[in-house]
């Protein structure tokens, strides 16, 4: 990583670090949710931006994380942090099972399949399957976690817990970009056939990207359950998936600063303009169109080395 980039990340993390000092409780909640949504958006970016698979059902994995941890906590009384390994494992397995028969589909078909899975997931939790998911009301009374005797009972401590997880995820994704897996994803996105021809096991890496994205999103789901202590199906519906999808495209595919900025624009900005309640989403839609027209590759597009312009191919 270049030095200037490191400074930018440090400034960003520094702002997040001192943000609670300047915010009241409702803005602190927005801050925590911003961090959680950033994690989901970053995991969506692994599937959509880095591996180039059109996934418009990512809120499902977010929801799987939240629901499994909440069920483990409220029904089986397992401390919620202990649920994380189980959650990661289960959502990775589900994502692989889901992706195995469908992964070969072309872009738009995959997009529709993932939408379909998200809607099926919605119906499953809304219809209170096995009497565990609480139906349309969701699950109440999720316990806040404790670690080495420290209780994460205050909202501030949950904020810093989420902040800590975000740092871990950022480090992981930075490492991913420079690893063999990250390069495989990159080739996969640029040209699937060419990637296959140079000996990349595209099927394996596509499943790997799905499983990785799903696990990270499910960790964010656990954080979401911890933050609100209440979860309901609406937090994981198709609209949320579209939000995460849009965040990645508006911010810039496979660009970490882009995704973070996208999360800010798509989630925090509407909260700031809450007073203009009725007009804000109208303006918001216009802004989405304008952003795409003015910056079709996203607000902060990722630059891959120095490539002459005439070699760049739009797809």
């Amino acid at each position: 990583m270049r030095k200037s980039a490191i400074y930018k990340y440090l400034v960003f993390l520094g702002i997040l670090l001192i943000y609670p000092l300047f915010s009241n409780s409702s803005w602190l909640a927005i801050g925590t949710t911003f961090i959680i949504y950033s994690i989901v958006a970053l995991s969506q970016d692994i599937v959509l931006g880095k591996a180039g698979m059109f996934d418009m059902g990512h809120a499902m994995f977010f929801g799987i994380g939240a629901y499994i941890s909440a069920i483990m906590n409220t029904v089986f009384n397992i401390p919620i942090l202990w649920a994380i390994p189980v959650v990661v494992l289960i959502s990775a397995i589900i994502s692989v099972l889901m992706a195995m028969p469908t992964i070969h589909l072309r872009g738009d078909y995959l997009l529709v399949v993932t939408i379909g899975f998200n809607i099926i997931f919605q119906q499953v939790i809304k219809n209170n399957v096995f009497g565990l998911t609480g139906g349309p009301n969701g699950i109440f009374g999720i316990e806040r976690p404790s670690l080495f005797g420290f209780e994460f009972s205050s909202d501030l401590s949950v904020y810093y817990l989420a902040f800590f997880v975000l740092i871990l995820i950022l480090i992981m994704i930075k490492n991913l970009e420079t690893s063999a897996v990250g390069r495989a994803f990159h080739y996969l996105r640029l040209d699937n056939l060419a990637a296959q021809c140079v000996g990349i096991n595209t099927r394996f890496y596509r499943l790997f990207a799905f499983a990785l994205g799903a696990s990270i999103a499910s960790i964010a789901g656990v954080l979401f359950a911890i933050q609100y202590t209440v979860i309901s199906p609406e937090s994981f519906n198709l609209m949320q998936s579209i939000l995460f999808f849009t965040i990645v495209i508006v911010g810039g595919m496979s660009s970490i600063p882009g995704v973070l900025l996208g999360t800010f624009l798509m989630f925090v900005l509407p909260e700031i303009f809450r007073d203009f309640n009725t007009y804000r989403y109208l303006v918001f839609g216009v802004m989405m169109i304008l952003t795409m027209i003015l910056r079709p590759r996203g607000i902060i597009p990722k630059k891959f080395g120095i490539i002459p312009k005439y070699l760049l191919k739009d797809k």
Partner: protein, 300 residues
């Protein structure tokens, strides 16, 4: 048995509405290869515009059928113009951009439509008057069919025949099919592809406007956010039939309508959506191009 016949009648009615909406998706996808996510909200908008025009003009006509036809025509004109503007403003600048940018632009446009409806007509549901079509019912056996269902079935049938003739038997239709196969080659053959795309959007909006008003007349209650649900169902119908394929969208719409209403009648209405998408996923796994779609070789 009467449940079966009743559900088939209901399924055919809703299926033909799905088919009308699905045609808008499939024609745009066929030429421009992108999912026009704003189409469903355009359909919702046309339901509202149609209702408003109907309530303004109904007093000046003695017969409500004529009032409906007049308001249908005015709605079609308005929605086609909006469809053209949508293409001109939100999609044309993005022809050369990465494909997902156009998708996000469409999502933004859908959001604009949805919130514009909410700002103009308010967030509460509106209702089409109950006497908009004389409330006649015919019994055969234990099943019933209403006049509105017959009208919807007949009108959709004629509209689809008309579209089929337009696409397959006219010069414009040939140009539309050529542009769908290869835009650059079509341009080299002297076809004005931009004009074709405008025609496609106008046609799709027309069919969507008819579908939207039918939805209002059949279900009566319309809400500002209904477009998304019907839109996504219609889009699923387009995929089941084979996306980009015009007869496929008609077939897929009817098929999906029948499937939905039979599931709701025999199994469970709370699981209807899940069954629809399980069907969709199975179709995509075993026949990824849909019922009528042709296999497209991957370009290298």
């Amino acid at each position: 048995m009467y449940i079966f016949i009743q559900q088939v009648i209901n399924g055919l009615t809703i299926g033909s509405i799905f088919a009308l909406i699905a045609l808008g998706y499939t024609m745009v996808y066929g030429t421009m290869k992108f999912i026009n996510f704003a189409h469903g909200d355009l359909v919702a908008l046309s339901a509202f515009v149609g209702l408003t025009i109907y309530t303004t003009v109904v007093s000046s006509f003695s017969n409500s059928i004529i009032a409906i036809l007049i308001s249908l025509i005015i709605t079609i004109v308005i929605i086609s113009i909006i469809g053209y503007l949508l293409e001109r403003i939100a999609y044309r600048p993005l022809r050369k951009a990465p494909r997902l940018s156009a998708v996000v632009s469409a999502l933004g446009a859908g959001m604009v439509f949805q919130n514009a409806i909410m700002l103009i007509w308010g967030p509460n549901p509106h209702y089409y008057p109950a006497d908009i079509i004389p409330n006649k019912i015919w019994h055969f056996g234990d099943s019933v069919i209403s006049l509105i269902q017959i009208l919807i079935l007949l009108l959709s049938f004629f509209i689809m025949i008309g579209l089929y003739i337009l696409v397959n038997k006219t010069r414009t239709g040939r140009a539309i099919r050529a542009a769908a196969i290869n835009q650059d080659a079509a341009r080299l053959m002297g076809i004005n592809v931009d004009a074709i795309i405008v025609i496609i959007f106008a046609l799709g909006s027309t069919l969507g406007a008819v579908g939207g008003m039918f939805l209002g007349m059949f279900y009566r209650g319309i809400t500002f956010n209904m477009g998304w649900n019907y839109g996504i169902s219609a889009f699923v119908a387009a995929i089941i039939g084979g996306i980009g394929n015009i007869p496929g969208a008609m077939l897929g719409g009817i098929f999906l309508g029948l499937f939905n209403s039979l599931i709701a009648g025999y199994i469970s209405s709370t699981w209807a959506d899940a069954f629809t998408y399980i069907l969709l996923i199975l179709i995509l796994i075993f026949k990824p191009t849909g019922i009528l779609g042709e296999r497209v070789a991957e370009k290298v």
